[in-house]
């Protein structure tokens, strides 16, 4: 066990856990922030995607000990009122079916748009290839990302 101080969604959290514990389980089990989902545990499905600084990372492969003072953003903190352009586009396009993978999809998509505000079709597909949607909402995911990109361009 070791003590860690983590800045998550703008708030400082103190926890005492096994240093090898992945951030996914720190968030879900210890901080009860369950928006970040467990899908595979080996960084293959993207359901657990969070932002470490500005980068989309798979929290199932991110030991708490490696976070240091880098800021973490989860789906719960992506926006204060659920009105990030990507979240709004996701609702307007009615992307989700079961909804389980969508937090991870949204975190990957929002990190992409931050770095590349106007991605091409191929750039969107490449960025999103690490996020599996078993229900098959891929065409809507692409459409929502384009809609969010346009919102950003126009605002």
């Amino acid at each position: 066990m070791a003590a860690f101080s983590l800045k998550i969604n703008g708030t400082q959290h103190e926890i005492n856990v096994d240093p090898t514990t992945p951030m996914l389980w720190v968030l879900r089990d210890h901080l009860h922030m369950v928006g970040t989902k467990y899908g595979c545990g080996i960084a293959q499905c993207g359901a657990c995607t969070i932002h470490l600084g500005d980068n989309a990372v798979r929290s199932c492969q991110l030991p708490v000990s490696s976070v240091g003072d880098q800021e973490i953003t989860t789906i719960e903190g992506l926006s204060e009122n659920g009105d990030h352009p990507v979240q709004k586009a996701w609702l307007e396009v009615d992307v989700p079916q079961c909804g389980y993978c969508q937090a991870g999809q949204i975190m990957t998509a929002s990190a992409l748009l931050k770095k590349n505000p106007n991605p091409s079709d191929t750039e969107i597909e490449n960025a999103m290839n690490g996020n599996i949607c078993r229900c098959g909402t891929y065409t809507r995911i692409r459409k929502a990302i384009k809609m969010a990109a346009n919102t950003n361009q126009n605002s």
């Binding site: 009860h32 928006g35 996701w90 079961c98 490449n126 949607c133």
Partner: protein
Amino acid sequence: MTLVKTKIGRRSFIRTSALAGGGMMVGFSWLASCKMTPEEVNSLPKEWFDINGFLKIGDNGLVTIMSPNPEIGQNVKTAMPMIVADELDVDWKNVIVEQAPLNLDVFQRQLAGGSQSIRAGWEGLRMAGATARKMLRQAAAKAWEVPLEEVTTSNGTLYHKASNKSAGYGEMASAAVGVASPNDPPENIEVPEEVELKDINDFTIIGTDRLNVDGPKIVTGKPLFGIDVQEEGMLTAMIVHPEAFGQTFKSMDAESIKSMPGIIDVFPVDVYPEGVEKQWSDGGGIPQLVAIVGESTWQCMQAKKALKVEWESPSNLESTESYEDDLAKLLDAPAKEPARSDGDFNKAIKGAAKVIERTYSAPFLAHNTMEPMNFFANVTADKAEVKGPIQTPEFLEKTLSSVLGLPIDKIDVGMTRMGGGFGRRLYGHFGVEAAVISKKVQAPIKLVYTREDDMTQGTYRPAYKVRFKAGLDKDNNLIAWSVKGVGTNDDLVFENRFPAGAVDNYLAEKTSLQTKITTGAWRAPRSNFMAGAEQSFMDEVAELAGKDPIEFRLELFDRAIKDPVGPPEKNDYDPERYAGVLKLVKEKANWDGLDNGKARGVSAYYCHNSYVAQVLDLTMDGNKPMVEKVVCAVDCGIVINPISAKNQIEGGIIDGIGHATYSQMTFENGVPQQQNFDSYHLIRNSEAPKQIESYFVDNGIDPTGLGEPSLPPVIGALANAMYKATGKRVYNQPFILEKEIVG
């Protein structure tokens, strides 16, 4: 307008809800942790009135509608309340949707499966809304002392035009109950014996796009799913199951992990002890397991890795290779009684001018719901509370009653939103496992499977082989057709489906191979393989006949319409509706006119009471099909929620293309060879079609299923388009083996 007899319990009348008060509105206590915004709190009614089990009306006109069936991503949680709301005649923006509890006294068939929720629920949901509307009208007629016939409604308001009176539903419900003295018996507004259902042309909500009611929670990461359940004092449980199908528990070194941090207990579990009364939903799972209980998930995962368990192996562990051989032998062996025989197939085939025979195969598939199996259970001496993702809550309750020795009324089964179903959560053994573990450790626990547990444990889509044979006469008319199907624990063939009824000499045979590997329903059972095989074969037969593949099919439907072979009621499809979707897709895809340089394939299939036809365009990238566009025509009767119905269609298409092209589950000596998403290829974003267009036949027929029907035929359309692009037919799924991917 249709008059129908109400079937709602007569004891129901308008009364103050036992669930009055804002905070109680959310059913699960763990959801109460979601903070409500001040606007949300202010907009809550001070009092709710129960009209019937389906809905409550707040004094301010807000309406809570219960969604009776489990939600697996098919979006019945939006669609089912839409049906109630339309008949109730309220504004959708004033509707709050709640997941109903399991209560078969009020609701029927609380099950997610067979694409039947809307079809089976249609009448009951309409009646629930219409009954409530009539009761509110009765209350108004009484209060205003006017004839019932003169009381009309619009968007949640009651009117008496002649006296210029009006009142909101909430206001009238308050008046009817008598809010001033809520303990007095309410003025009885009895359930009417007969109610009027709307004319389908008067629907204002049904047939319009309504966004997913859980959308805002999904995109902000609110707790919704079984795996998100958190309860006071709750421990985490994990299982270790045998490496190979057929193995049983022998021994383990429990002491080696008991001292690990956070580990509380480790013990073998016999999920279904002798004498337990099993339900059909108990078919899946591995009954002998080892359970690990600990404080946190990560600690349990570490212990799980460290635990050494020995399993007893039978001598005949099974492998994919042996299934391939056994299924092939079964296909070659003479079948027993045919499932259906019209005319004389053997004689006709001997006299045919052209004969074609082809064999198709498909592997086992895992369901791979994104949310792995999990369940919460808190079992004490006299009651059990369980909740989680379950497609068959009624049957889980019955099994738990037998396993735990508790009466049904002491078992509370809660339904959470599910991170995918696809048939996997019909088999509720994980709920039973959670309960047995909780009982043993005498604490509330949440059982969570790792991805590897989930993928290597079944209950798989069976492996299949099917052989078709067809004969054409000298004028290229189809005169003989046979189908013979074999599968693991499943006999595959639907003998009364097309082209049965459209061919003079028709023979259907089927048989199954018993295996140790557990199999079960996987999205569109049997159809998920049969459609692709049949529609690929149909394409080859049409080519042999020198006919356009759509015209060839339409000729057969024409035959089934005008002069069906055998008694028409025997055929479980309607050839006019079948032909209808094919004609619609032909028009929408511009089948005759378009030459866009893409290879095209067509397919049509009927399953789950719905008709689907598709035209698929692709190009090849190496040996990988890159699907540019799928045009899809669907006849599922009345469409409740088009934006969401199209989502189901798109999902089914992507699911079908993905699994047929890339996915398989193989075994060596009983051990699943794919254990996680690094070795099990699920379709990815860049592999999905660039574009999908969906069109519905508008015919006003009562609605039928849509969660499954778009998946099966697309595999045929894909195979037929791949042939156009490459000149080579594909017969065996997956169409591309991982090691052979080029491009």
